[in-house]
């Protein structure tokens, strides 16, 4: 599944990432590459370092933030909740 390893790494490393809460972390496989002040900077570094290979960019939060959509859409996911 897409980003399964990276999402596991994020969950595992979250306690130590909490010092950068609110920033965006770049993860490739089981490695935390760095944290960035903006989403755009993290994405840029991801493509620079890994090309079109999988990498994860995620905003660091102690409690996962939820996006709310008021229309009856079905989110697509390759990773189970």
């Amino acid at each position: 599944m897409a980003l399964e390893k990276e999402l596991e790494t994020y969950k595992m490393k979250l306690p130590e990432l909490m010092k950068d809460e609110g920033k965006f972390v770049l993860i490739h496989g089981d490695r935390v590459i760095d944290t960035f002040a903006s989403y755009e900077d993290a994405i840029k570094e991801g493509y620079k370092g890994f090309g079109i290979n999988p990498f994860l960019v995620k905003q660091i939060h102690s409690i996962e933030q939820v996006q709310f959509i008021s229309r009856p859409l079905i989110p697509c996911s390759t990773y189970p909740s």
């Binding site: 994405i43 090309g51 995620k58 939820v66 996006q67 009856p72 697509c76």
Partner: protein, 150 residues
């Protein structure tokens, strides 16, 4: 301040936008000597009820994208618990109807993949509050128009 004004439709504030790969992905594709997919024209609704911009998977597939994120999403279709959704990085351009104004352009925007757009909604995307956070939105119900300044 650049802006455009469009007529409200029966569905609401609908506009035509183009979606492409993000600037960073375009650069990576170029470095790998891979073709950069052409922009996809989409019909989108401006929706203040969406915290994030959402796009139909057919558009993301046409751009040959793979997810670079995962977020929790709650919609009226997901029940009480939020569910995971794939997030993709794209570029978004909304051309201004006034050619003297620069278009509304975002080089790298995280969007959520959502099904059931075309079948149930009749359009490809929702422009959410993440994009509107860069704009001024005026909904003029009396004149049946909406204006976005950016």
């Amino acid at each position: 301040m650049p802006h455009f004004t469009l007529s409200l439709t029966q569905q609401g504030a609908i506009l035509i936008a183009v979606v492409g790969v993000s600037a960073a992905r375009a650069s990576a594709l170029k470095d790998a000597n891979l073709p950069i997919p052409k922009y996809e024209k989409v019909t989108a609704m401006v929706d203040t009820g969406a915290s994030s911009t959402c796009i139909d998977p057919s558009v993301l597939l046409a751009l040959n994208l793979t997810p670079t994120g995962s977020v929790l999403v709650k919609t009226p279709s997901t029940g009480l618990q939020p569910v995971s959704a794939d997030q993709y990085d794209v570029s978004l351009i909304v051309p201004s109807s006034d050619t003297s104004h620069v278009p509304l352009a975002i080089a790298t925007l995280p969007v959520i993949c959502c099904n059931d757009f075309l079948q149930s909604q009749g359009f490809h995307a929702l422009i959410g509050r993440d994009v509107l956070s860069h704009c001024i939105l005026i909904y003029n119900g009396g004149e049946m128009t909406f204006t976005i300044a950016y």
